[in-house]
Symmetry: C2
Subunit: 478 residues, 2 copies
């Protein structure tokens, strides 16, 4: 997507849109059965009035290239292909619809799409701003790498041994004792979840998670048939887990430190409680700890630090701290489990980028990594303070939030139930992109995940003003 | 694995083995239910007599740490954990066994494992020798990269736009006309197959392939429930496909240029025949073309070059030419299909390494890539000639083969049916690693995939001598 008609040429906007769509179909790019976005979305994409889109679609329907099926949805017509070439094309759309993997939710696809645009203010983006990435330093460190020919071949299934050794040293400071055979290098934390899903769980397994969970916005487990069970962590935790698990296979997924999206940090007692309950019920724990480094006040130990029986699969990554583009993370667990995950990784992509592994090794070994994190933490703290001040100024009457303890996010709760898809789309029309609460908990119409890590300070201010204006407008119209 | 007892210390070999195994269990690394390799394999790994292994295992059984279950198989005992700590551990082994993804075949796991060792002669390895990789040039090119902060963030789902543009230019020379929206960057060709498996096919779909196929040695489709159907490409092709497909979803997987493992190159007529049959039956084709660049005499066009209706998904990669460690490949297809694959890639690993993408872009843009391939082709031709000469000298009476047309492989066929698992293991005991035909066709006991691309010329000679000696011995004992 991303195409827009050109206002500088004599051809009408409608004609340009028709030509563009016709080309897409003629080239075989929009295959038979492709569902077009709604008129509203297309108007937004093209930067034109909805009526212009409507007329273009009507013309193409008359030409037999498009057809309306359900309600107002428009599809590439079954016979469209004959208009051009009179030959058959595989019915790709059938293939896509029948296949195993679920598509991303529409809201998330829109977020992915709009995150590619330069003119959008990104209030929710879960990554560091380009200005916070140590780009020049990474570029400089490329010159310090000395490559060995063997590195550039197919790697060992678990990843570079030197990097695994460096990771063992690194996590020791968090209280985790481990060895290279217990570490598997992955292409980011999400891949770790994917490998666990297909390598350790059977269909119908239960994945316990918190009510509001990052796992609802991606779906490594759901897409292969696991059942997500949200649990409240209260005094009945042990009983709840036991009752829900029964004889089925289960695993507990958690982000106990700087939770995504809520930003919460569990106390030591809360960690112990979960660990003990799971140990007693022999439920393994996945501890997703990718935000740990970004605690403003780092006195918390991972659950993995208290693990003596190989109960916890621990996930770390440099995506939230150094660069998501490197695609390097790690899983730590019993070596039997790690070998299994490595075997599947081998069958999936033959290992992670050797150069990326070398860069991370270099940053860990030279101490550059920890030095960078130290200064990054201070910058994030300043950004957090800045956004909290803006919130206090404007939002105090209509929303509440907790003081951020680190990481990227403020989980802001509107008093009124206004955060629905229409609210999200309305903000998008004003070129403000938010991460609405409902992508983390489908029932949630109160929350927005604000990120103070991505947008510029100026954009954060403008974006929050627009968010405020539309929130007020929505509340008044309710 | 990889550990070996130390012969320089006073502790006996048996005791060292026992201590090592005990440690593995005590640390929770060898989880309850872990199946140990056979005594023969352990003896091979440790470099000791089988009796030493046997005694060590007996002692540990007596201690209650190990138990024999089926036949001579030995497992970590259900109660082993109580010996140390009297606490429960999750039954990881159950998790592994019940999970969705099949493990790699044992022979392939052994190949992966022994490929990590320095003392093994690798006669079958499907990658370039370290000396053939342009390591110094890649290292030098790192200094020419200029990184942009936005590159180091999360990438667009389809991968870097500049790289996709460069790939479009590159494949144009092979007769393929395409555009960036038709390209998705992947972490190697195997990931492309994985994405197609979960993103385009339903369970029970048919994947047509040649009788001897690379897909039998990896299993991206099998592991998610697709049915592999080998077909002979003869005059009945259309009828065969029609009869086997019936109303089911199907796709045809092929490596028409320098096939892995056979090295075959299809003629233009053969390509057209397959394309026409599939077009008529609306069966999409996956054209795996990762060896194309390595044709000694490049006059062949990919099937994709004749594709006008988005019938062919075309896969390319730099793993066979520049460096497998970069983990960069691409899929070319209709944009609706590409967007679908990108959406799943997004959910799987959030894109491929940005640095790897930049390196490949640099090599394509500067012409370094094509220059490198030109010289690589000559080197491979020389190596092929060298191995063919060795074969002629020794193997002429017991085997036959075709003259290699490029790539890495000679598909050598022994007259006698000697290439079984025992033959493979016997060579391994002599530290010679082969890729036996049965990993590409379970019925095959005649072939070995020789690779002239990996081992040194000296190792190739020694390895072939050992292969010859053991082949003769086996034939005589039959």
């Amino acid at each position: 997507m991303g195409w827009q008609p050109n206002r500088e040429v004599p051809t009408s906007l409608q004609q340009q849109i028709m030509d563009w769509m016709t080309d897409n179909i003629a080239r075989g790019d929009w295959v038979v059965g492709t569902k077009l976005p709604t008129q509203r979305q297309l108007a937004l994409q093209f930067g034109v009035n909805r009526s212009t889109v409507q007329q273009a679609l009507e013309e193409l329907k008359a030409d037999g290239l498009l057809e309306a099926k359900v309600g107002s949805c428009v599809f590439v017509a079954e016979n469209s292909w004959h208009v051009f070439v009179k030959q058959a094309q595989p019915n790709w759309q059938n293939y896509i619809e029948a296949s195993l993997h679920k598509p991303n939710y529409h809201t998330i696809q829109l977020i992915n799409e709009y995150e590619q645009r330069d003119d959008v203010i990104r209030l929710g983006t879960g990554e560091l701003a380009p200005s916070l990435l140590p780009t020049a330093e990474i570029e400089a460190s490329l010159q310090e790498l000395s490559l060995q020919p063997t590195m550039l071949g197919y790697s060992s299934p678990q990843g570079s041994l030197s990097l695994r050794l460096a990771i063992c040293e690194y996590v020791k400071k968090k209280g985790i004792q481990t060895a290279p055979q217990n570490v598997c290098i992955v292409s980011g934390a999400l891949q770790a979840l994917q490998l666990i899903a297909v390598g350790l769980l059977e269909q119908g397994s239960i994945v316990f998670q918190e009510e509001t969970s990052y796992l609802n916005s991606v779906h490594p487990f759901q897409s292969v048939g696991m059942q997500m069970v949200p649990v409240v962590r209260d005094t009945h935790l042990h009983t709840t887990l036991k009752e829900r698990k029964r004889k089925r296979q289960a695993i507990f997924y958690t982000v106990p430190t700087l939770n995504n999206p809520t930003g919460a940090v569990w106390s030591q007692t809360e960690r112990e409680k979960l660990y003990d309950a799971c140990k007693d019920l022999r439920i393994p724990i996945i501890e997703d700890d990718v935000y740990h480094e970004l605690l403003f006040d780092d006195t918390t130990e991972p659950i993995k630090a208290m693990d003596e029986s190989g109960q916890v699969l621990y996930i770390g990554s440099v995506s939230k701290t150094l660069s998501p583009g490197l695609r390097i993370g790690w899983v730590i667990g019993p070596s039997t489990v790690i070998e299994r995950l490595a075997d599947i990784k081998m069958q999936t992509d033959y290992g992670s980028s050797a150069i990326s592994q070398e860069i991370v090794l270099h940053w860990l070994q030279t101490g550059k990594y920890e030095k960078h994190i130290e200064s990054l933490r201070k910058t994030l703290q300043k950004r957090a303070d800045y956004v909290v001040d803006l919130l206090k100024e404007k939002f105090a009457g209509i929303a509440n939030w907790d003081q951020p303890k680190g990481g990227f996010y403020i989980w802001i709760k509107f008093h009124e139930p206004i955060v629905n898809k229409a609210f999200f789309m309305q903000l998008l029309q004003h070129l403000v992109l938010i991460n609405p609460g409902f992508i983390y908990d489908p029932q949630d119409v109160h929350h927005v995940r604000l990120s103070y890590a991505y947008a510029t300070l100026e954009d954060l201010k403008t974006g929050l003003e627009i968010l405020y204006a539309i929130a007020i407008e929505t509340i008044e119209h309710q």
